[in-house]
């Protein structure tokens, strides 16, 4: 059965665009709607209850647009809100933590896996719990990197400041003998070259977002809600609660899609 409705993506800011970029590649037939809560980014340092509330507000915004599937393309929100939202919606809801966990366990040879993420994600122990429950013998080393998201959101991820911050922050992971590192925040793939450089080429970086798209692809088939005809990418919609101009600058740079239009919206939506 064809389903022409869109797949919805939510994130605290622009980070989820790394997931959308992969979705556009793997699922060219699908229409995508993205909402980044840039005005209230970062979510990482916020209390869990507040992140849950904001995530519901984003979810409700996309439900009004009749999405057929929801991707919580934000690790912080996945860690604290996925279970509740998945239980209450009647469309499939996908988070980014389990796909990243599965990919890391598939990749590691020495069972030593690192996880970097926001303070909220690391504090939730979501990756650690998932890794240990699947493979109890895994050594897990987690590190919060609170400075990374602001660097990406301010579009400074190519700067020399970014290089210095990434190097200093990841320093504690250097001696852990990791062979796999989970980028446990959808903003981090924009810092990928810097992270790879610090960790060394022998460490496999796991992009949770890219893995998530494979899960989306499977679920579209499993629930028989994939779209068949080709949609032009122009049909995709991008919304932000912050500056549309700043959002578009990063989206253009990262998605290489200079034609996208970004609309600013307010949350919560007025009924």
């Amino acid at each position: 059965m064809n389903n022409h409705e869109a797949i919805g993506f939510i994130d605290s800011g622009v980070g989820g665009l790394t997931v959308v970029k992969e979705a556009m590649r793997q699922l060219p037939n699908e229409r995508l709607i993205y909402l980044g809560d840039t005005a209230r980014c970062p979510y990482g340092p916020r209390p869990a209850e507040q992140v849950v509330q904001f995530t519901w507000e984003m979810t409700n915004f996309l439900l009004e647009k009749n999405i057929k599937m929801l991707v919580i393309a934000c690790n912080t929100a996945t860690a604290v809100a996925l279970e509740e939202i998945k239980a209450q919606l009647d469309i499939p809801v996908v988070g980014v933590i389990l796909p990243g966990t599965r990919a890391a366990l598939k990749a590691t040879k020495n069972n030593r896996v690192g996880v970097i993420g926001t303070a909220g994600t690391i504090k939730s122990l979501a990756y650690e719990t998932a890794l240990k429950s699947k493979a109890p013998n895994t050594f897990v080393s987690s590190l919060a990197c609170p400075k990374f998201v602001p660097i990406v959101e301010s579009n400074e991820f190519h700067s020399s400041v970014a290089k210095k911050v990434v190097s200093e922050t990841l320093n504690p992971l250097q001696l852990k003998k990791l062979d796999t590192l989970i980028l446990g925040c959808t903003h981090y793939p924009l810092l990928r070259p810097l992270i790879q450089n610090v960790m060394g080429s022998h460490v496999k970086l796991i992009d949770s977002g890219a893995e998530t798209v494979s899960e989306v692809s499977m679920l579209l088939d499993y629930f028989d809600i994939a779209n068949t005809p080709n949609y032009a990418n122009e049909a995709n919609e991008f919304y932000t609660t912050g500056s549309a101009k700043m959002f578009k600058a990063i989206a253009d740079d990262w998605l290489n899609l200079e034609t996208i239009t970004v609309e600013q919206v307010r949350l919560p939506i007025e009924k």
Copy 2:
């Protein structure tokens, strides 16, 4: 939520063991129950209605064992019976065709994909339909290989006869400029070195069964029915409608598990 029940696998014979082998690797915590309908193998040349009936008989055998998920590890059965069985069971049901399709589309660079399978699978056009609906520009070349399953089931897949049959059968595919070939029958990975040799190293072989296990892994998480503690592999159960001895010989050879026990059963089961 932990779920200690087993995952069930059904196949027309021993072919599905290639899927079980991958499941044992990727999902070491899970208990597996396998039923091969060796006595009535091959399914490939049989009428679709009969394959549907046999597949239901195998399904009912496993349902009596309280499986939590069913894997139709047989392309012929997936092609004709998956939809009906999935619609009627209240546990997740997974086939092998869509995972193979997704993997092939991910792998191909020149959009020229070959599919080999039993007469039943090829006649159903299941792969061709799935490939074209996801990527209409794909050139698909399909070929029925009715001699392959009997070679595997008679444990002759290492023989010089096997080499000759594989070479002659695949001859028509040589000039199709394929860069990807779907092994659209779970028996075929046992002939993999011979097939690779004939097709050349530039052709990527897609093992639908291995891809299917990634889908199983994802669905265990999605429906929150994975098992947490480690199960010893001895807890796995293997059944065949044919010779337990012959089945065990292939299982030992292919799974490298000399400790498994195989029990012969009759279908349909008496209520």
